[in-house]
Symmetry: C2
Subunit: 234 residues, 2 copies
DNA sequence: CCAAAAGTGTTACCTTTACACCCATGC
DNA sequence: GCATGGGTGTAAAGGTAACACTTTTGG
């Protein structure tokens, strides 16, 4: 029987940075940690990787358990592998960021899992290196969102251009010129204008759009320039 | 004593996709695997992560051991975490891509470690999922190289514009217009023209340039547009 | 009618692309 | 002097940014 002699073995966890958008601010889904150490402190949604599952599977499972949702946009972005990042025992964490339509998130589960949305700039202190993870995830989200139409994952099926613009402004902490933004978005071919208007935030009303899913899938990998004065900072 | 009960533990390895450039083609540094299973088959440079080192440390160590080089450009890009990717025992692999100036690589070590450069398109079959890793690393390199001036890491201190262009063409499998390429590169402010010329490949000779390291460091994170018809495909 | 938000138009400017052209020199 | 690779010039087309302007409608 071949074996890798006496190499050390470690625990492996996944942690998910779950972004949501309520129409105004970018939010983060956090849970109260249910095990020692640091029990009852705020933490990212995470869990250990089981023997029969891939890290991707583990992340999907953890998200399903905490939000009840399937088919969430999920992207592995970094491994945190410092020997002492968990004080109890060496644990590597594979970090994923997730984008979910906050409206799909059933509020009921909130109570079950002690999960809660926080505006990203008003979040509590997190355990271990989770604060760093959030900062890294945010940079990565900005980076990716400037080049790929990823932010649609955060919006409901029907959305308006002003909503979309607010989302881009929230993610990137910047003001964007409406005229240029609309032209740019319309020119991507990703938007399908609906007849219906959203009158909740103005008298004139803003047309609803939906995503052209076929084009979204086919063009997803292309590099767009969705931001003015593109200068990211990853 | 707090502990994480009976969660499973796994081996953790790092694997490095090491790119080099000889002035003509993009190359990959491979080694003959020295342990069972698949002993003597070609493999990426890798090793297990020791108890006292981070994954980054482990990657640096593995590279140092196999190339004798310090200060290599190294970037973690993905974790491979399928349960059965190693047939002997579950092992997660943290993949890094590395860029080295092939001229700095001391040929002598080649013999010591059975490492060898292969043109990227004429490489042998690799063990496990290493073929996938190479494909992924190459995509990632293209992506990053289109937006950040990362390819200078592959060049010697002095280089010419035609060399730089050949490198971009090799990485991206495309022909690039010389005039436009030169103008774009010169406009970045990253190049310092030297008085000396390289006459090895033409009668007229091509001016040597060196990298403006200060500008390289300060502007590294900015998003350039270093390729024509930018349309990547990560 | 007016305020306020949605959305369009206009223009100056810059970048990109394609390609023609000039330059230097060893043979 | 001419072939060869190095390097510059140019003009058309397209994209970007700034901002003025029009539209709609509830109060």
């Amino acid at each position: 029987m071949i074996e890798y002699s006496s190499q050390p073995h470690y625990l492996v966890a996944v942690d998910c940075i779950v972004f949501g958008f309520d129409g105004e601010t970018l939010k983060l889904l956090l849970v109260k940690r249910s095990l020692e150490p640091e029990i009852n402190k705020w933490s990212l949604i995470g869990g250990f990787v089981g023997a029969e599952e891939s890290t991707d599977d583990a992340a999907i499972k953890v998200l399903k358990k905490n939000t009840g949702l399937d088919g969430i946009y999920l992207e592995q972005f970094k491994v945190y592998g410092k020997p002492d990042r968990d004080p109890i025992e060496r644990t590597l964490s594979v970090a994923y960021f997730a984008l979910i339509d906050i409206k799909k998130y059933s509020q009921q589960l909130n109570a079950d899992y002690h999960a809660e949305w926080f505006p990203i700039n008003e979040r509590p202190e997190l355990i271990f290196d989770h604060n760093t993870m959030v900062a890294d995830a945010r940079k990565r989200l900005r980076y990716k969102a400037a080049l790929h139409p990823i932010l649609f994952e955060l919006l409901p099926k029907k959305f308006t251009l002003p909503q979309l613009q607010t989302l881009f402004e929230a993610v990137n902490d910047m003001k964007i010129d409406t005229g240029n933004f609309n032209r740019k978005m319309n020119s991507t071919g990703l938007l399908v204008k609906l007849d219906e208007k959203d009158k909740s935030s103005s008298k004139k009303g803003a047309y609803y759009f939906k995503l052209n899913h076929k084009k979204y899938r086919s063009d997803f990998h292309l590099v767009f320039n969705l931001l003015p004065n593109l200068s990211l900072d990853l």
